[in-house]
Structures are given as C-alpha cells and as structure tokens.
C-alpha cells in the first residue's frame, strides 16, 4: 500500500467483513461479492484524497451504486445469476431451507429492490438513510422494499407448500 491510500488498509481490516457481507448479499454470492467490493475499492481509491469526511460511507455508497448499475446493465442481457453458496455453518433446523430459499430469491430480485432490502434488513438503516445511500426518494425505498418483500412472501409460501408436500411423501 502506498501513502496515497493512507487509512484504507485500516478501514478494510476493521470493516472489511461487514462490507463483504453486504457486497455478497448485493451480488448474490461470495465471489461476485468480492468482485463488487474490489470494484468499489478501485473507484474509492481514485477519489481517496478528495473524500471529505466519511470514507467508509463513500465506499459503501459507491458499492451500492455500482451494484445497482451493474444489474441494470445485466438486465439487458441474459442474466447469469451467481450460485448462492450454502451457509457456512450448516444447520439442520427446520427453517434453514426456507431461509436459503429467501436469500436465493433475494438474489433474483430486481437490483433496486435487492439493494433496498439489504439496506433495510441487513444494514438496519431507516428508510431515509437507505434513500440517502441509494440517492433516491424515501418513497422509492418504501415501494422497492414493499415489492421485494411481496416477492419473498410468495417464495416463502411456495416453499412452505413444498415442505408440506415433502413431509407427506
């Protein structure tokens, strides 16, 4: 690392896990998440010395903007979704299949809905904070969150039906 990026290594050391987790949820998988985080880092490096104040916030916003833009581009071509890796700690509990299905479904949502859900439920941001990160109105965050949840609810219902069928077999 050069002095030109002083403080960046510390930021990644302290906040890298959280950033990678968000990137993984945004991109649909670990590998794609690392690519997204790396791309956001490269963008942030270009502006590193000019960033006034919250550098983590800048990196995080860049990551969300890139993710949304990247998905927007991909949506114009046949979409290749990253495989969702199994949970790091396998759990035999009943809800695991449902939770996996929900995360997998999250990866198939339109980019803005996905970003809104990650910001609201993973980052635990308020609607206005999420709107600020995404650079959109609070109303847009509300509608994207609502539509995303509605889609996940459908997945959950289908999953419950499938589990029921499986139990009957």
């Amino acid at each position: 690392m050069t002095d030109a990026y002083a403080g960046l290594a510390d930021l990644i050391r302290d906040r890298g896990r959280d950033l990678l987790a968000a990137a993984t949820l945004l991109a649909g998988g670990r590998t794609a998440g690392e690519d997204l985080l790396q791309a956001a880092l490269e963008r942030t490096m270009r502006a590193w010395r000019r960033i006034d104040g919250d550098r983590e916030g800048y990196l995080r916003r860049t990551m969300y903007h890139l993710a949304v833009d990247g998905w927007r581009l991909r949506s114009r071509r046949p979409e290749v979704l990253a495989t969702v890796e199994p949970p790091a700690q396998p759990d035999a509990a009943e809800g695991v299949a449902l939770r996996q299905a929900l995360v997998q479904a999250l990866g198939r949502l339109p980019p803005k809905q996905r970003a809104a859900l990650v910001l609201r439920y993973w980052e635990q941001l308020s609607e206005s904070e999420a709107a600020e990160v995404l650079g959109c109105s609070v109303g847009t965050v509300k509608s994207n969150t609502s539509r995303g949840l509605a889609r996940l609810r459908e997945i959950a219902a289908a999953q419950a039906l499938g589990l029921e069928r499986g139990a009957r077999r």
């Binding site: 890298g16 790396q38 903007h65 581009l73 790091a88 700690q89 449902l98 206005s128 650079g135 959109c136």
Partner: protein, 272 residues
C-alpha cells in the same frame, strides 16, 4: 418485524457467516487501479512506457507485479456507453455550463445537481433578450420538493412545496446523470471516434432522432461526460443546447451553490 422479515435477516446472517475478505483484496484493487491509470496514460499519449512505469513505481514504491497493458482496446459504442454509465455512478456533484442557441438568440445557464439528494439549481448567467435574470433551486427532502425562485430584476423571491415525484413517471429531469444514464442505456449511440476537445482526449458518440440529434463526448480515460450537444429541429431554426460538464467531488464548497439563501434586500412574494 414480521416472521418473514425475521427469517430473511436470519438467512442473510447464515449466508454471510464467517465471510472474511481475501488477504489480497486490497492489493488486487491497487493493481486494478494501477492498470486503469496506465491505460489512461497510454491513451492520452502524455506518457510513454517508461513514464508510466516510473509513475507506477513512484506511487507504489514497488515495481508492478506484471507489465501493465498499455494499449487501450478498441471499444464498441456499446462498450463506451456502458463505461460512461458506470462513470456516472459516483456521488460527485454535476456542474454544467449550458448555452442554448437559436438563430441569433442565445442564453446561458449554470446548472448544479447533487445525485445523493437530487437537489438542483439553475442559475441564469445571460438570459434571453427581454427575459429576467432568475435563479431556481429544487431541494428534495423526505418526499417533498421545495422550489425556491429568485427574480433578480424584481428583487423578489418565493418558495413553493410540492410532493417529490422524482423518477415516478420513468423519466428524469433534463441534464441530470440519471437522464444521461437513461439515454446511454437505450443503446442507440454510435461511435464517431477518438478526438481532442480543448486538448483533452475524448471519445465522441452520436445519436440521431427525427428530427434532431445529440452528440456526446466522454473522457477517453475516465469515460465521464465532458460535453453534450443536443439539437432539436424547430420551424424557425434548430435549437442547439451545448453543455460543458465538470464533476467536483462532494464537499461543502462544491455543494454551496445548491444551498438556497434569500438574497439580502430581496422581498418575499407569493409563488407565481
């Protein structure tokens, strides 16, 4: 939270448990950034191979792990458009000087836009003959758009609030990054070629509509919009709008033009 939301959060936690960035993540980002800079240097022709390596060496303190690719690949219009879209993804402030001409008439405006909040300002530099010099701010907060208008000729100002319907109709305010991104996403630009604009290496794109058309010049290294020229045909002569952009980082100073303060000595009136 509802049970579904609880399950979603738990699923997210399970899905990301134990994730740690690869130890070389930062090094890869540094190399990626270095490659971009080397490509830019090669593209501009301002630096030769030796100079590029010297810059890289001087900035990192170590020689590059592998020779950086120095020749910029030939890109298609679609690839340039995609890169230009990606370049719009930052939260830097947009500042444009807009000159609109029709026959012998002309007016000049300055335009600022904050893509984080959606705030914008139009400032008349030279109004149309017979028109008044005005300033208009649009400030967006919590679903409300506040329009502030200053009439410098009458020395009056007023504000008006309305629901913020940004993006609801699917279209975006003219000249904003969102609007340009929408134009680029349509995939209808054609590549004219590489040029110099006031000494700056740029890539020239063009699209035609009926009637009229548009030219866009993006920086050859960063793919940021440098100039945009929109021509609309009209019965008494084409209307030509030329926008020259710069993209200062978001700082209190660069955001200052977007802060509305009623001018001293001006009188508040009701919205007109």
């Amino acid at each position: 939270m509802t049970p579904l939301e609880d399950q979603l959060v738990a699923g997210m936690r399970e899905h990301t448990a134990g994730l740690t960035p690869a130890t070389d993540l930062l090094d890869r980002a540094v190399r990626g950034n270095r490659r971009r800079r080397a490509r830019f240097a090669a593209a501009t022709g301002a630096l030769g191979v030796t100079a590029v390596l010297t810059v890289v060496f001087a900035s990192t303190g170590t020689p590059p792990a592998a020779p950086a690719p120095l020749a910029r690949p030939v890109l298609t219009a679609a690839e340039v458009s995609q890169r230009a879209i990606a370049a719009l993804a930052t939260d830097d402030v947009e500042h444009a000087r807009i000159v609109v001409r029709q026959q012998d008439k002309q007016y000049t405006q300055e335009f600022w836009y904050d893509s984080v909040t959606g705030d914008m300002r139009h400032h008349d530099v030279v109004p149309l003959i017979g028109d008044r010099l005005t300033d208009t701010w649009t400030i967006r907060r919590n679903g409300t758009a506040t329009v502030a208008y200053v009439d410098h000729a009458a020395r009056t100002w007023w504000t008006h609030e309305r629901p913020d319907d940004t993006g609801k109709s699917g279209s975006h305010a003219p000249y904003t990054p969102e609007e340009l991104r929408q134009q680029l996403s349509e995939g209808t630009y054609q590549l004219v070629g590489e040029e110099q604009l006031d000494g700056q290496p740029v890539i020239h794109l063009r699209k035609s509509y009926n009637p009229g058309g548009e030219d866009l010049w993006v920086d050859a290294g960063t793919y940021r919009a440098v100039r945009r020229q929109i021509v609309k045909a009209a019965p008494i002569g084409d209307i030509v709008a030329t926008l020259d952009f710069d993209w200062p980082p978001r700082t209190p100073e660069s955001l200052r033009p977007l802060v509305f303060t009623p001018p001293d000595g001006y009188r508040e009136t009701s919205p007109q």
